[in-house]
Structures are given as structure tokens and as C-alpha cells.
Symmetry: none
DNA sequence: AATGAATGAGAATTCATTCAT
DNA sequence: AATGAATGAATTCTCATTCAT
């Protein structure tokens, strides 16, 4: 993650945290302002609306995953197994340090039926995740199998993050990651 | 599900639908009232608050699962495999007919950090689900393995319901159910 | 006070208590109903509206004072001093046993600017009180003096009841009563 | 009273007026807003809640009395008699110009049983009033007598303000003030 | 960029009252 | 007389957003 933080980026980071912990509706512009040392109205100098801010948060996370995690699928010197291990370890590390679980996952259920703008971004993120795993698995197990496994892995990961958060216990998530790694010999 | 509906139960059913589709914050008492052919204030004649109504919705679903699905774990004449198949088929049937996915799962992410009352009920539901699968698997694969598999199954099911909703495509969920059934020979 | 209580009277007595403790706005029809073992709507079988019920409460108290206390002014065998003592003792006894102070006094400030119906009754009550004391004092100290003293006594009594309630301490009220009695030699 | 009014102070002054005339429950935030040329929600920009606003109103009045009236008890060059006269004249002037009587007195009866926050402030005000008169009288009539007289004066003043309001006639109040002044030779 | 005040729409909730049974 | 359900208006309070400074 970058060292130098623009104000814009700093607001996004603070907002991500709040959105994850309190949800979209549960996070007020006032709370975001306060977390940034600003007054609520001042957020609007940086983001046109709450919705746009939320979208930027989703994109920010998506970009981070693209650069740091999804790209592993094309990191050439690595074997498929090595890719899968690295991918899974990175995912694990990210979510273990991420209080509040997965923002994209959380938002899925709260806004996907009501907000197409945010929904599109969420879909794009999960599709990219799936695609990366597909790329990793395909050379080993073939197209059809890889397709199915990829989606299962995303689903199981999201489900276990959800339970990790609900139970306040990271074990389900860690076990799940082991299972993923063991998919390839 | 019962044919005769008390007023109370009818409100709960209508509310479940709205909560699933629009989330907790996104569902207003006015909307619930309207869906029930009542004026918003009238809901308070039956439920003390929105929070209590939501709790009753969660309990209603939990009770349905206990009676119709979780109980399969102790339905004696069946073999473990038969139990697992029946259990999974019932889950599949329920969620395929349930527009908006799993209310308990949806609420997990929106309210669990902010509402201990609702969170407790959600935790109880998922623990009961886990426990049922554990009871089914244990005779076949032993305690430790059954414990781990049970939690993975719950996580993967929830994750695939979430993706089913997000993608508006039931395939991920159906594939997941096949995988679960194949766990036992 | 009568031994046989009609339902009507019983509702009035319960309402007086609630009105004294919680005020007019602070007392709901539901609370009155509950105190009477009825459902809130049922009160309307006995009283047309909250306002009418409150008016009946004021009249009920007023009548009690007329019969038991104000009438002392014309109770013939007694001397002025004896009348004053008896009057004051009766007043003291009533308000020491009356949790919540003087309903008429309480209502004065909450309702008098907004509800002419209730205001009229309150004015009538205080005028009658004043008049009684006037009648007692006049033979001893003359018309003009008696007029002024009467109003002072009513004011001081109400003020001390108010402080008694506020401080939860009956001393101010008791001292005040002593002073009143000492007005006549 | 100051000529320049901050917005905050202006809201308090408008609110005091409304609370005095219509009582606590009878005064809506919408009415306060309207009186201030604001929309109802805007009041919350300045005061967290209706209760807090009411408390600020009580404190505002209390402070005014401390500075302008209660302090007379310690205004050194004056004799006890002069203090008592000045004190009483100031009280008279204040309440003759104060449509709606004494806010603290009004609130005593409406909210003291239901709102500890406001009650505490009301008690503090009346105790301070009592204490001031006690300080004025003590050098002349001794501790015990001064104590009793002080409380009687507060009670009688409040009672006569109440009657002044009820009867829409200031005579009872003016007579009462004369009596107070005549307490000291 | 930031602030503080204001807005307007809408949220949950309360409550006196009505009415069919 | 009593009940339980419903009503509709009002009330407190919230919140995303705007705007003059």
C-alpha cells in the first residue's frame, strides 16, 4: 500500500473502515467526516456524494486486489501450485488484518438490490477474483473443472469470511484456505 | 409452511421478504405497513419496534429450519448419506424459491456489528445449522473431520447463496450443493 | 369519600393519580386504561375524550373540597379561629396524603394557556378556596384585609405544595400551615 | 439583558417564551424552529435534543437571576432592608414583564417527576433563591427564623405568580411583594 | 479547501380516537 | 361494556446535501 497518502486517499481508507464495520446505511457522512478530522460537509469537496465515495472505496479495494493478488495468476516464473499458495496466502493475510471482513461482500447484500452503480463494481470485483483463480487452475484441471472450482473457491472464501466475522473467530477462514491450497497436488 | 396465517405471521412473512430484498436499513416501517395493507403506525400494534419485528423474522426462519431441515439430522430410519442428500435438497429448494437470498446471511453483514440482539439470533441459527451437519457427518468421518467439514459447508453454502443473488444466477449454488452431497460415498 | 365506587369514579381516581404524577400530556390514555385494568379504547365508553376525563377529575376534586373543606367556612357553631384551624388541618391532611401535589395547581401551568375548558374549572376551584378563607377571616379583620389575606394564603399554600413536591420534603408545607393558623389570635 | 444576541442565545430566548406559554410537551420543535425563522430540524444543529434545549433555557434563566438578583444578597454597601427591597423589586419587575409566569415553576409541575435532568436544575434554582433571601434576612432575624422565612417567601412568590397567570391579574403578586418587603423594619 | 449553518425529505415512534365484533 | 385492530396526524430526531463566507 502506498506510503504517501493524498487527502482523497486518506478519506477513502477511513471510509472503507467505517463502511465495513457499520455498513452502507449505518455509516453517516458525519461519521466519515469526524474520522477524517473534517466536518461532514467538507467531504463533498472531495466526493460528489456518499454513493460516489462508496464507489471509490470499492474501486480502491478492487485495484489493490488487482495489483497485489489477482495479478499473481499471470506472474510467470511461478508454477500453478506456487501461484495458488501465494494467492491464497495473500488473501488470508489481507482479510485477517481487515477488521470487519470484506467490504465488497458486505455491500453485496445491503446494496446490490438497490444500487446498480455499486452492484456493477461488486460484480466486476468478484468476476475478476474468479477469473484469476480460473487462470491458475485451468492448466492443471481443464476449463470446465477450473470454472466450477473457481466459483466455489470465491463462494467458500466469502462465506468463511462472513462466519469469521460473525463468530469473531478466524479458524473457519484459515481452515478454508488450507482446503483451497490442497486442491492442487 | 402453514396455510392459515395469523395477522402476526402474515406481517412477519411480508417483512422477511422486504428485509431480504432491501436490507434492514433499507426497509422502512412504512413499506412494511404498505405491504401488509396497513398504515405504518399500525405495525406497532403487533410489534413493539422495528428491531423486535426483525428479530421475530429471524426467529421465524430459524424455527422453520429447525422443524423442516435441521431435524433431518435426527430422523432415524435414514442413513447418513440419505440425511445429507435430503438436508441439502431441502436447503436448495428453500433458497431457490427465496428471492433475495438468506435473510440471516444478509443481516450478518449489515447489523451484526451494531445490534447485539439480532446478532445473537443469527449466531444461534448458524450454529444450529453447523451442528446439524456435524451430527450427520460424524458417524461417517469422525468428530474432528466432521466439525471442520460442517463449518465449511455452512460457509460455502452462504457464500454461494450470496453469489447466486449477486450474479442472478443459481448455477454456483446448485454446483455447491452437488459437491456437498458427494462428500459422503 | 364514598365507599361504593362506580366504575366511572374508579377511573377518575386512577386518572387523578396519573395526572398528578405525570402531568396532562405525560399521561396517556393507554396508561389510564392499564391502571384501570382496561384497554385504552375502553375508557371511551365512560368518557368522551381525554379532555373530558381530565375535566371530570378536576370537578371531582373540586366537589370533594367543597363538601369536606370549603364548607367549613359556613359551619356555624365554630369560631373563626376554630374554622381556620380546621380548614387548614384538613388541607394539610389532604395534601400530605396526596402523592404528586395539587392536581389543580399542576394543571394550571400546563394547561391554562391552551385549554379554556380546563382553565375555567381551575379558576373556579381557586376562587372558591379564596372565597372560603375570605368568609372565615372577614368577621375578624374586615373586608379589605380579608380579601388580601385570602389570596395570599391560597398562593402561599400552592407555592409550598409545589416546593414540597420538588424537594420531596413536607417541611415547607407544614410550616406554612402553622403561619396561616397564627394569622388569627 | 444583552443587546447582541448570538444565534444560540436567540433560540434560547424564543424557546423560553414558548415553553412558558405552552409548557414542555406543548411546545414542539417545529414551533421553536418556526419562531426562530428556521426549519424544525435545524434546531438540532445547535442543541442535541429538546431536553438539552430545555435545560439550557433553565440554566439561562438561572444565570440571569444569579447575576442580576441573587447577587444582591452580597452587594456590600447595602443594608439588609435595602437588599430586601431591591431584591423584591427586581423579582417583581422580571415577572411582571415575563408573559407566562416563571418557567422554572411551570416546569416543576410538568416535568419534575419524569425528568431528573431538568429537575436537578430546577431544584438548584430554587435553592439558590432561598439561599439568597436567607443571607439577606439572617443578620436581622437569626438563622432559624431566616431559614423558615426564606422558604416561605419563595413559596409565596411562586404561588402568587401562578395565580397572577391564572387570573390574568397581577394584583396578587404585587401585594405579595409588599408583604415581603414589610418583613424587615 | 474548509467551515458552520441551514435545508428538506423522511425515518421511527407515539397517541388520541374510532369501529367492527 | 369491553376488546383488538386500525387510523391519521403529529412528534422527535436523522441525514445527505447545499451554500455563503
Amino acid at each position: 500500500m502506498p506510503v504517501i497518502k493524498t487527502d482523497r486517499e486518506s478519506i477513502i481508507q477511513k471510509s472503507i473502515h467505517l463502511f465495513k464495520v457499520h455498513g452502507y446505511s449505518g455509516t453517516t457522512m458525519a461519521a466519515i467526516g469526524e474520522a477524517c478530522g473534517l466536518i461532514k460537509g467538507s467531504i463533498y469537496h472531495h466526493f460528489k456524494s456518499k454513493e460516489v465515495l462508496a464507489l471509490e472505496c470499492l474501486k480502491y479495494i478492487h485495484e489493490y486486489f488487482e495489483k497485489e493478488i489477482f495479478s499473481i495468476a499471470h506472474r510467470e516464473p511461478l508454477s500453478s501450485k506456487e501461484k495458488l499458495i501465494l494467492f491464497t496466502k495473500k488473501v488470508e493475510k489481507y482479510f485477517l488484518n481487515s477488521e470487519g471482513g470484506c467490504l465488497l461482500g458486505n455491500f453485496t447484500l445491503e446494496v446490490s438490490n438497490n444500487n446498480p452503480l455499486l452492484k456493477n463494481e461488486i460484480v466486476a470485483y468478484f468476476k475478476a477474483w474468479e477469473e484469476s483463480i480460473y487462470e491458475i487452475l485451468r492448466p492443471e484441471i481443464g476449463k470446465k473443472e477450473a470454472k466450477e472450482k473457481a466459483i466455489q473457491i470465491v463462494a467458500a472464501t466469502q462465506g468463511s469470511i462472513m462466519l469469521m466475522r460473525l463468530y469473531e473467530n478466524s479458524k473457519p477462514f484459515k481452515i478454508q484456505n488450507k482446503v483451497i491450497i490442497d486442491l492442487l497436488p
